[in-house]
Symmetry: C2
Subunit: 296 residues, 2 copies
């Protein structure tokens, strides 16, 4: 079992339990369904990559993970809300997500829209209660809000939608990749580093690691979308290509895509060097390798 697997074995139950606590239903019976809808998609969650990055950042900085656990959960809520809204008929119109019916297929479109809204809102409620000094709390909230807004994730979603059915150029594709998923991945590392009172230099290292694995992750997704297998992926293969004509392999070829991905992983690993060796740093390196080797 490598460091990443050890980290996962420890982190996943911790994250899942805290998510359940933070999303526990209210006493109001009228709200049963909306809370169920929120939890449905959070429970259907996949790799918990983002929360894991938060915990590993604290570990790499030799800080207690209790400083960042709720940051990890808040970001997972934001990630989940973005998937719920992305899957809606007006957007990607996906019936399946990770092999399960999408939120609107189970709860209806109206409830899915509101469950997404509620998860975004709940994330900010959770962040207000972080067990940190007030000035750190505000810096964390500002970082996450900025990465999930139009200058980040939503911007990436918008440009992705605008590119539907079009051939796009490399800068536009890069914009989508850097923002739709990449910006939040960076924010896991940066916001957690802020919460751990990292220096500006350390924050920059984590940001660089996050930037590179985020982009590599997207290229890997593009490659998997072409080469993957429907049963393993839990969604129809080739759907990216149906909706948007340009992917990394389409623009630079499959070999070019693989080469770019490898360079980014190398750069991510170099960023970690000044942090020295620790189980968390080793797990971050394992994770970078996992991204390009994963099969779903």
């Amino acid at each position: 079992m490598n460091s990443l697997e050890q980290s996962l074995q420890h982190a996943i139950p911790l994250i899942n339990q805290r998510l359940e606590e933070l999303l526990s239903p209210s006493d109001e019976p009228l709200l049963t369904t909306i809370h169920e809808a929120m939890l449905y998609s959070v429970r259907a969650g996949g790799k918990r990559l983002r929360p894991l990055l938060c915990l590993l950042t604290a570990g790499a900085l030799r800080q207690d993970e209790s400083r960042v656990l709720d940051i990890a959960c808040a970001i997972e809520m934001i990630h989940t809300y973005s998937l719920i809204h992305d899957d809606l008929p007006a957007l990607d119109n996906d019936d399946l997500r990770r092999g399960k019916p999408t939120n609107h297929r189970v709860y209806g479109e109206a409830m899915a829209i509101l469950a997404g809204d509620a998860l975004l809102n709940r994330a900010f409620e959770v962040l207000c209660q972080l067990p940190l000094a007030p000035d750190l709390v505000i810096r964390v909230i500002a970082e996450i809000a900025s990465s999930s807004g139009t200058a980040g994730m939503i911007g990436g979603q918008v440009v992705d939608i605008q590119s539907e059915g079009k051939s796009i150029d490399m800068p536009t594709m890069r914009y989508i990749h850097e923002n739709k998923t990449g910006r939040i991945i960076r924010s896991c590392l940066v916001s957690s580093a802020i919460a751990c009172q990292a220096t500006a230099e350390q924050i920059e290292l984590f940001d660089r690691y996050g930037y590179n694995i985020g982009l590599a992750f997207q290229i890997a997704d593009d490659i998997l979308d072409i080469e993957g297998d429907e049963a393993t992926m839990g969604k129809p293969v080739g759907s990216d290509l149906q909706n948007r004509k340009s992917t990394w392999p389409a623009l630079v070829g499959m070999n070019g895509a693989r080469k770019a991905m490898q360079e980014m992983i190398d750069e991510a690993n170099r960023a970690l060097d000044p942090l020295g060796d620790s189980p968390a740093v080793t797990a971050l390196r394992d994770l970078a390798r996992f991204i390009i080797e994963r099969k779903n």
Copy 2:
């Protein structure tokens, strides 16, 4: 010109100008449309009741309105996002809002969903930059996040949707009224009072005023929906009744509804008594009266 009219003449341009600044488009040409979509609905905004309540709270506490101007704008963004999502085909399916085509009719459903998401997100970004001590900023964000989430506005929207086409009882209708619109109206006053370092007693007074005018506002809406005139309202009359069978007048009769509304306005005015006399307090009293006398 009464105190309310004087306040409006001063406040509306101030609020509108600040909203334009806070929502000014980025330099990224790929994001032109989403920023246009966000601004479209904010500009189509109506009475600016919520931001005005924020400014008047500061005035009633003899504090500079610069303390609360961005709170006012953030809440108006949250209000606007909720209207954009409420108007979607999956929810109320409205083509018109204040006499103008709804967001999704102009920008399409996908962009409308994301414009709503982006306005909620932007509200929290703005709140992180409030010119206040960090502990006050966090209390303000927590108050607003709580009032706009499932325990507040979203909860009200959910129960409203679940009640579509059904006869509901008084507690359920009250739940919708108190939460769908009422909770955010209270939050304008409470969050602004927090920002002005009001005492717990003062915050409670503002909360009571807000609770009562918020509920009275909803009863007035129900009455206008029955008696109003399409041209003045800018939306089809009777639409509430088409979607949800129970309104305040339907449950307690038109006279009972008017009586309840008057009692709430009286209670709202009583709550203001300990604040003494000032132009802002007078404007708050005028506003309470305006709510039951308005024609749209």
